[in-house]
Subunit: 148 residues, 4 copies
C-alpha cells in the first residue's frame, strides 16, 4: 500500500504498534495489526464464536471495533510523537452479513488536519460469500497534542 | 421505563433474552441485558482491562457494541415472533472519555416500520466523572420476517 | 424552552440572529429563525414546490439543511463573541416522508466542548400525517475562536 | 466513468433525468445532472450568494443536498422502471470549507440490494484551494417497487 502522506514522526510504525499493543480490547477480541503505512492501517480478526451475534456472523459491534481501530491508527500514524488519538464519532454501513473465517479492516486517512482527521475504513471477510466489502466506515479522529 | 409502543409479540421479553443469550460477543465482553420494555432495552457492561483502549478507557468499539445491542434489541422487541434483526448502519458520537466502572447503554425505538426501524441509544458511565451521557447513537435496523 | 446551558456571551441571541441573516442559503430557501435559547435553536421553513424532491415532499437535502442550521446555531449560541462555527460532520435519519405545509427543525446541544460541540436536531412537519418527528440528526460542530 | 453494474432498466439514464427534472429543489439551487452511468451519477452546482453560509462558502446543507442527489440517482439508476427511491439516512464529513466557483458531487453505488442500496459521494469544488474532496458522504437508499 503506497499512500500520499508524509509522516511527521519517522517512528510512526513503532509508535502505532506500541499503542495497539496497549489496547486490551484488541487482544481480547484476538485482533492483530497487520499493516501500517503513513495514513493507512490494516487490522485482522479471525472468527470465533465469542465474536458472533445471534445468527453466528461477526457481531456488528465487533466489525465496527476493528474498523474504528483501523481508522484510528491510520490517523495516529500521521500525528506527532507524544500525541494521543481519540475517536470523536464514527458511522458505518453494514452492507452484507459478515460471514467468514477472517475479517480485515483497512483504514485510510482522507483528510489530516492539525486537530481533526477524517478516515475511511472498508471491512472485507475472507472465506465468505463475496469479494465486496461487508462494511464501510467514516470516522472523525481528534489529535490531543502533547503540552509544549 | 414506560414506552409508547405496543409489541406485536406478547412474549417479546423472553424472545429478546433468548436472542441476547445466543450472542457470543455479549458474553465475551461480559455484557448483561438489564431491561427490556416494548421498544426499549438496556445493556450493562462492567469495566475490565480487556475492554480498554490504549489510555485505559472503555474502547470506542466496545461502547459502540453495547449501544448497537441496545438499539438492536429495542427494535427486536417490537418485531413479530420468528423475525430476525440486522443492523443496517449506525453512527455514534463519543462525547467524553468513557471512564468509569460500569457502562450502561439504553436504546429506544424512534420509528418502527414494517421493514426498517430507527433507534437511538445513550451510553452513561457510572463511577465516572460526569452524569451526562458519554456517547449517543442513531441506528437503522432491518426486520427479516419469517417466510409466510 | 428552558435549557441547562449558561451562555458565555450574554448577547448570544443577537449574535445568532445576525449570523443567520448573513446566510444566503437560509433566505433562498425561505427559512426563518424562530427561537434561540442558550444551547437551543429552532428554524422554520414553509413548504413550496421549489423545496420538493421528485414526489412533491420536502427534499431530504432541504430537511437536512434546516436541521444543520438548527444544530449549528444551537452550538453557536454557546460560543464566545467573535467565534465562528463550522459543521464538521452530520448524520440524519429521514424516518418518514416530509409531507406538510411547514417544517420545523429544533436543535439542542448535547455536549459543549472548547473546540467541539455535539448537537441533535429533530424535524417535525406541521399539516402532515403524523406528530412524530420526520427526521433526527446528530452533528459535530467546531468553534473557531478569535485570535487572542 | 465505467462502473461494475448492469442496470435492470436499459432506459435508466432517461428515467434518472426525468426524475431529476421533477425535483423543484435542484432547479431552485441551480444544480444540473451532468453524468449518469449504471450505479453512478454526478451533479454540478455553480456558486452564487444564495447558496452561502454566513462566511460566504457553500452552505453545508447545500453541499449535503447535491451529495444526497448524487447518491440517490446513482442508486435509482439501478432500480427497475416504475420504482421510487427514498433516502433512508445519510452522513457526511465536511472536510474543508467549500470555497470555489463550482461544486461537483459524484455518487457511486457500493452495494445494491433488492430493498436497500448503499452509496458514497465525494464533493469537489473547482476554482478552490485544493484538489482533494471537500466532503464525503455515505447514504442508505430504499427502493419502493411498483405494485405487481
Amino acid at each position: 500500500m503506497t499512500t500520499p502522506w508524509t509522516p511527521e514522526d519517522p517512528d510512526f510504525a513503532a509508535r502505532v504498534a506500541a499503542s495497539f499493543a496497549r489496547q486490551g480490547a484488541m487482544a481480547h477480541l484476538g485482533a492483530r495489526l497487520i499493516e501500517v503505512e503513513p495514513g493507512a492501517c490494516a487490522v485482522a480478526l479471525p472468527f470465533r464464536p465469542e465474536l458472533a451475534q445471534q445468527d453466528g456472523f461477526f457481531h456488528a459491534g465487533v466489525v465496527t471495533t476493528i474498523a474504528d481501530s483501523a481508522c484510528g491508527y491510520a490517523a495516529f500514524s500521521l500525528m506527532p510523537a507524544g500525541a494521543r488519538v481519540l475517536t470523536v464519532e464514527l458511522k458505518i454501513n453494514l452492507m452484507s452479513p459478515a460471514v467468514g473465517s477472517l475479517a480485515v479492516a483497512r483504514g485510510v486517512v482522507l483528510r489530516a488536519g492539525r486537530t481533526l482527521t477524517v478516515a475511511r475504513a472498508d471491512v472485507h471477510v475472507e472465506g465468505g460469500r463475496e469479494e465486496a466489502p461487508v462494511a464501510t466506515m467514516l470516522a472523525t479522529l481528534m489529535c490531543l497534542r502533547p503540552r509544549a
